[in-house]
């Protein structure tokens, strides 16, 4: 009945916890093969180059790259980890790190290895006083804009000094119902859109100690209203539009003036010569209370059950080293390197985009992404309730208060 095994792995919860992973073959005499799991295909080229560089200095170690698309990555990883067969080194994000650390799936990393890396990113990987991930890139949300629409409407391009009011005024001028043209996209995006605006208005998502929700803070609500107001005033399309078509594709259709999107989209946009000519990028606009940009960085985590702890740790460390960070940057892919002073190559890969200005303006205002132990649980609540506000079914203030109540309940159980 061997052939039934993979099917059985998929069928039930029970089997899942029993585990159905395969483990690597034991190696002879000092040679080690370690597996490295990532989810982004855009990073395949740079990852292969980094692996080659690592293997050159560590000829006894072979690193096997495994790419699993984002949609399946976490489900697969959880299944493998529950069965004690997690990859030796794998991509981790700050949303999931606490869960994996608490579950004893990943092993702590020495504090000395993250020197010189941005604390806004590094601090996202702490749990119980220890560090569980070695960050190697940073994702900066930014304001993309369509120069063609700005020129046609005679509006000046966004700059690093722009505020919410500038965005709203520009959005109004760029909107043209006759052409089905909108000033801005108001997709429901946490990291780059409504979390930053909640903070920029002086509110918060999660209290400092991670025990209380900040959604009922009037300032937070103001940050959410920034988005729902623009939908209501019809300078942004209604909520259903973003669920039918990916906002990234919508923006490229040339009918939307501004788009809160990741700076990492540079490689996607650059790939299309027509889009490349037409758009540019600026830092996130300032809010009424302050500037805030939520930074997320991916980290490499080392499995606690790896057969080659030394080699795995060495590889994770290498990926965050200056040499590997330069390789990452020079490949001009989706990821922006984290170590200061290694970004030049990446900026140069997209010469007409104002990425350096965006980077320089964003890093000093970097704030870690709000996380607790089981972040996904309250985010699921947050997303489905906010969807009602975005769809205009309920006032956002009501919804925010309900999110806070449910979130506090979940946080209390953690």
């Amino acid at each position: 009945m061997r052939f039934r095994l993979p099917l059985a792995c998929l069928t039930g919860l029970a089997v899942m916890t029993a585990g159905c992973g395969s483990s690597s073959e034991p190696e002879a005499s000092g040679k080690a093969t370690i597996s490295y799991a990532i989810w982004d295909k855009n990073d395949q080229a740079s990852a292969e180059k980094i692996i080659a560089a690592f293997q050159q200095t560590n000829p006894n170690v072979t690193v096997k790259l495994e790419i699993t698309p984002w949609d399946q990555y976490w489900t697969k990883l959880q299944t493998a980890a529950s069965g004690g067969a997690a990859p030796d080194v794998f991509w981790m994000n700050s949303l999931n790190v606490r869960m994996y650390a608490k579950g004893g799936i990943i092993t702590p990393i020495e504090e000395s290895k993250v020197q010189g890396l941005s604390p806004a990113v590094v601090d996202g990987y702490r749990y119980d006083g220890k560090l569980y991930g070695l960050p190697h890139n940073v994702s900066i949300p930014a304001l993309w804009y369509d120069k063609k629409l700005f020129d046609a409407a005679g509006v000046a391009y966004p700059t690093a000094d722009w505020t919410w009011d500038d965005v709203k005024a520009a959005a109004k001028k760029l909107t043209d119902p006759a052409k089905k043209q909108f000033g801005i996209l108001a997709h429901m995006w946490d990291q780059g859109a409504f979390y930053p605006t909640m903070l920029q208005a002086g509110g918060h998502v999660l209290s400092e100690d991670g025990k209380k929700s900040g959604f009922d803070d009037p300032a937070s609500i103001q940050g959410l209203e920034y988005w729902t107001d623009m939908i209501e005033e019809k300078v942004a399309p209604v909520a259903e539009v973003y669920t039918d078509t990916d906002p990234i594709q919508l923006f490229q259709s040339g009918r939307y003036g501004m788009f809160y999107g990741g700076a990492w989209l540079a490689s996607t946009f650059w790939a299309n010569p027509e889009i490349r000519e037409r758009i540019d990028v600026a830092p996130l606009p300032k809010g009424p209370a302050k500037e805030a940009v939520i930074l997320l960085g991916l980290a490499n985590a080392v499995s606690a059950k790896t057969k080659h702890p030394k080699e795995s740790a060495a590889f994770a460390e290498f990926v965050a080293s200056e040499q590997a960070q330069k390789i990452l940057s020079d490949s001009g892919g989706g990821s922006l390197s984290l170590r200061d002073g290694t970004q030049e190559g990446w900026f140069k890969a997209f010469p007409t985009f104002h990425l350096k200005e965006t980077y320089d303006a964003s890093m000093p205002n970097g704030v870690p992404y709000p996380v607790s132990l089981n972040t996904a649980q309250w985010q699921d609540v947050q997303n489905k309730l906010l969807a009602e506000a975005w769809a205009g079914k309920r006032p956002v203030a009501d919804v925010a208060k309900e999110i806070a109540a449910q979130m506090n309940e979940i946080l209390a159980k953690e």
Partner: protein, 292 residues
């Protein structure tokens, strides 16, 4: 009477299948039952909570919403079964030209991957660029966001569900049709019954055993619908409220929110629901199924 030896052979021959079923179906069911009485961490660590999960779900609005959506979906898909009978009857017309082509066309959705089906249909349903709204637009109707609106989403998904299952059901009905003895029709013709009358008086009644089988299978499949919803409705979609099915809620609870115990409880409730509804169908069959 059979000898012991014969019994032994019998058991030996069914052993591989029985063992497979026991290990990969029965044991997981037992484990799921156990899990449904626990609260769990992501990586193991189960604490016994008894029936607390069940109590939680009985007061959970989302569970009732999912139940209502799933039942609505099942009713819609069941209502689509007559379509398959019509298709099968048409494919059974003697001397129809290009018959094998039509049979292939109707069966094609069955062998197509659900992911491809869902993707293609979500393009068709797209509110801004979709073919459906484009066609509606040419006759002056401003089509809704089929998959973005909680009032329409489940109907749109049911259309895809029916479309995907017509081929499979039609093949079953076709087999049923060909099992009906010719002489019934000949006799009816002599008595002066027209084509339509023959269909309603002979074909439909004699097809009821197949219809019953198709209804049972369709209902069980419909109650377990997940792939279409998962692929067509995003977790952040405002339409999720109106299209979240029980298995979707199971997925969301177990794999997004990481509450494995509670998810197992949902699976157990679904199992119970399917058992009850199927038993009900079997009781009801005495009233309308004619066995020759």
């Amino acid at each position: 009477m059979h000898s012991k030896r014969e019994w032994a052979w019998g058991y030996l021959l069914i052993a591989p299948m029985a063992l497979g079923l026991a290990v990969f179906y029965l044991w997981p069911i037992v484990q799921t039952l156990y899990l449904s009485m626990t609260e769990s961490g992501v990586f193991g660590g189960y604490t016994w909570v008894g029936t607390a999960n069940f109590a939680d779900l009985f007061t959970d609005e989302e569970m009732y919403g999912a139940l209502a959506n799933t039942l609505l979906y099942a009713v819609l898909v069941l209502a689509g079964v007559p379509l398959s009978i019509v298709v099968a009857a048409l494919l059974n017309v003697p001397g129809l030209r290009g018959l094998s082509l039509y049979r292939t066309l109707y069966f094609l959705p069955v062998v197509t991957m659900p992911a491809a089906v869902a993707l293609t249909w979500s393009y068709l349903f797209n509110g801004d660029f979709g073919a459906i709204n484009h066609v509606l637009g040419t006759v002056g109707i401003d089509g809704p966001y089929w998959l973005g609106d909680p009032d329409f989403a489940i109907y749109a998904i049911a259309v895809v569900g029916i479309w995907s299952s017509i081929g499979y059901n039609a093949v079953l009905f076709l087999a049923g049709l060909q099992g009906i003895p010719r002489h019934y029709y000949e006799a009816a013709e002599i008595d002066g019954a027209g084509r339509l009358r023959q269909f309603f008086r002979i074909t439909l009644p004699l097809l009821t055993p197949t219809t019953f089988f198709v209804m049972v299978i369709t209902m069980i499949n419909a109650l377990q619908v997940f792939d279409l919803v998962y692929l067509m409705i995003d977790l952040k979609s405002p339409a999720l409220e109106g299209s979240r099915t029980i298995v979707y809620l199971f997925y969301e609870t177990g794999f997004v929110q990481n509450q494995r115990g509670l998810a197992a409880t949902i699976a157990v409730i679904l199992l119970g629901l399917i058992l009850v509804l199927t038993a009900f169908q079997f009781r009801l069959q005495k009233k309308w199924v004619h066995y020759e």
